[in-house]
Symmetry: C2
Subunit: 336 residues, 2 copies
Amino acid sequence: MSVVTIKDVALRAGVTKQTVSNVINKRPVVSPVTRERVERAIAELGYTPNLLARGLATGQTMMVGLVVPTIADPFYAELVEDLERSLDAEGYSIALCTTYGDPERARGQLEILKRRYIDGLILADDGNVSHHVDLLTELGLPFVLCASETETPSGISVVTFDHGHAGYLAAQHLRDLGHRDIAVVGDLPPHRVRLEGARRALAEASIVIEPSRIGTARESSQPGGFEAAMSVLTEHPEVTAVLATHDLLALGVLQAAADLGRAVPGSLSVAGIDDMAEADQSHPPLTTVAFAKRRMAQASTELLVRALRSGRREPGVTSLSPDLVVRASTAPPPGS
Amino acid sequence: MSVVTIKDVALRAGVTKQTVSNVINKRPVVSPVTRERVERAIAELGYTPNLLARGLATGQTMMVGLVVPTIADPFYAELVEDLERSLDAEGYSIALCTTYGDPERARGQLEILKRRYIDGLILADDGNVSHHVDLLTELGLPFVLCASETETPSGISVVTFDHGHAGYLAAQHLRDLGHRDIAVVGDLPPHRVRLEGARRALAEASIVIEPSRIGTARESSQPGGFEAAMSVLTEHPEVTAVLATHDLLALGVLQAAADLGRAVPGSLSVAGIDDMAEADQSHPPLTTVAFAKRRMAQASTELLVRALRSGRREPGVTSLSPDLVVRASTAPPPGS
DNA sequence: CTGAAAGCGCTTACAG
DNA sequence: CTGAAAGCGCTTACAG
C-alpha cells in the first residue's frame, strides 16, 4: 500500500506541495527545471494523487453513477458495458446501482450516490421515469436519461431511439422485397409508434395494412407472438410477410409458421424489431431492426460530459436512428 | 443540491461539529437531550454526511471495486448483480470495472480504483489470474477472487465451485435413472475435474466410461459439442445417455440427437453442466448442474467484509457445492 | 515562478 | 458529556 502523498514528493523534490500540485495539474507556471525535478520525484516515488482528497478540494470526483433496473437483462448489460467504455474514455469511473424497478430502492441508491459527490449520472429508464426525474432534479445533479421507450419527459436530457423509423425500416424492407400482403403482429401500446412508421413506409407504395391483418398480442413475448400469429395467419393465409413489432414476438411468429407448415422465408417472410441476442440464433436467423446500444451509450456520455464541462443543463431529446439488419428470415414473396 | 454540512447542523443545534459527529456515529457519549436536539437539526436540514470527506478522514470509503472481464456475458452479469445486492446489504457501493480480458486495461483500472481509495475488491477470474494476483498483492488491497475455473492460486482468498462434485451429480443422476451405456462429450482440459467426478459416481455402480465413448470437443461450444456427439453416437449407437461437461456442448449434443433421429429423452438422455440461461430454453429443456452465482456472490462478500473488519487476510479456498437441476432432457433408458 | 495560508467536510484523540 | 485543535491529501487564490 503506497502511502506516498504530495508532501513526500515535495520533500524529495525540494519544493513545496503546491508546486507539486502545479506540476500535476499541468499549470504552465512551473519552470522547466523545477518541473523536471518534480516529475522525477513523482516517478521515483510512484506517486499518484488521491482522488478522494482531490474530489473534496475541487468538488469533482470524476465519478458518474449508472442507474439501471437490472443487469441480468442483456439489453441493460450491454448498455452498461458500452457506457462504461465511453465514460472510461473520458476519464470517468462508474458507480453502478441497480434498482430492480423499485422506486424506493432507487431513491436510496441515489441518496448514497449524492453523498459520494458523484459528478453526474446516467440512468436507464425502467418505467418509473417520472418518479426518478422528480427525485433527480431534487438532487440537483446533472443527469441524462436513456429511454428505451417512446415516452420522453421534457425539460431534461434524454437519449432515445427513433421507434417510428424502426417500424419504417422494417416495413420498407418487406415492401422493397415485393411483399404487398403484409400482416403485423404486435400492436401493443408501447409499439404504436413503430406501427405508425411501418404504415408510412407501406403507404409510399400505396399499401394499406388491413386492420384485420393486425394481430394484437397480449404481451411482448414469444407465446404472445405465437398466438397472435396463429390467429392472423390462419385467417389470412394469403399473407406473405409478417412484421412483428418486437423480436420476441417475431420468435413466436417463427414458431407459428413452423406449426402451420409455412417455410420461412420461402413461403413467409418474418421481420422483427430490436435485434436482441436471440434474433441471431433463431431458425432461421431473424431479419430485424437494431437499436445500437453503443451509440446510445456514446450519445449519453457525450451529453453528460458536455453538461459537466459547461456546468449547465442541456435539455432536449436525442433520437437515435436504428439500423436494418437483414438476415435469413426474409425473402421476396413466393412466385416473384 | 443541498450543501448543508456538519457545521450548519452544529450551528442550528447550538453545539460544535464534533458533537454532531458523535451523534452521527452513534458514540454513546452524548447526553440524550443534546442528541435529541442534534437529531432534530439533522432532520430539519436534511443533512447527510459527505462520504468523500469521511473517507478522507477515516480511510474508509465504503466502496468496493468489482473487476470482471465483461458484463455482456450473462454469467458475469448475474454475478455482478448478485454481488451488488450482497454488498449493498453490507453498506458498500460498487465501482465497476471491465477488463475485456486485457491485462493492460486491468492494470489501469486497478490503478484508478486504488487512487479512489476503495476499501477492497472482488474480481472475477478472466484467465489472467496470476497476473492480477501479483498486481493486487502489490496494490495491498484486500481482495477476493471469484474463480470460475478450477485453478486456484494459493495464498489468497478465492471462492470457486466444486467442479468435481458437479460432474459427480450429473453422472449420479444418469446412473440412478438406470443408464449404464454412458458417453461423455467434452474432455476439454478445464473440464477434467468434472470428468473425474463423473467417473467417481459411475464407479459406485461399477460402471466404467470406456475411453472410446469419450468425445473430445475441439472447443466448449455448441458446434464443438455437435461434432463430438455425432462421432461418438454414430460409433456407439448403444449409448443411452450423454453427459456433456458444459451446457453449450450439451446443446450441440441435442442438435446431434435430432440429426440422428434419436428422441430426447425417449431414446437418449442428455445432461449438461453450468445451468446457463439457454439451458432452460432448449428443446427439450436441459437437465444440468447449476453453479449458483448468488451463493458465490454471498460467499465472496462475506469473505471480503470479514477481511475488511478484521483488517487481516484470510487466504484459502471456499469451494461451493453445485446443484442438480432436473429438467426434461433425461429419463430412464428405453425399455426399462 | 515559488511559497505560506486557508479551506474542502469530516474524524480523532485530548483537554476541560 | 462537550469544546478547541490538528489532521486526512489535495487545491486555490494570494502574496512575494
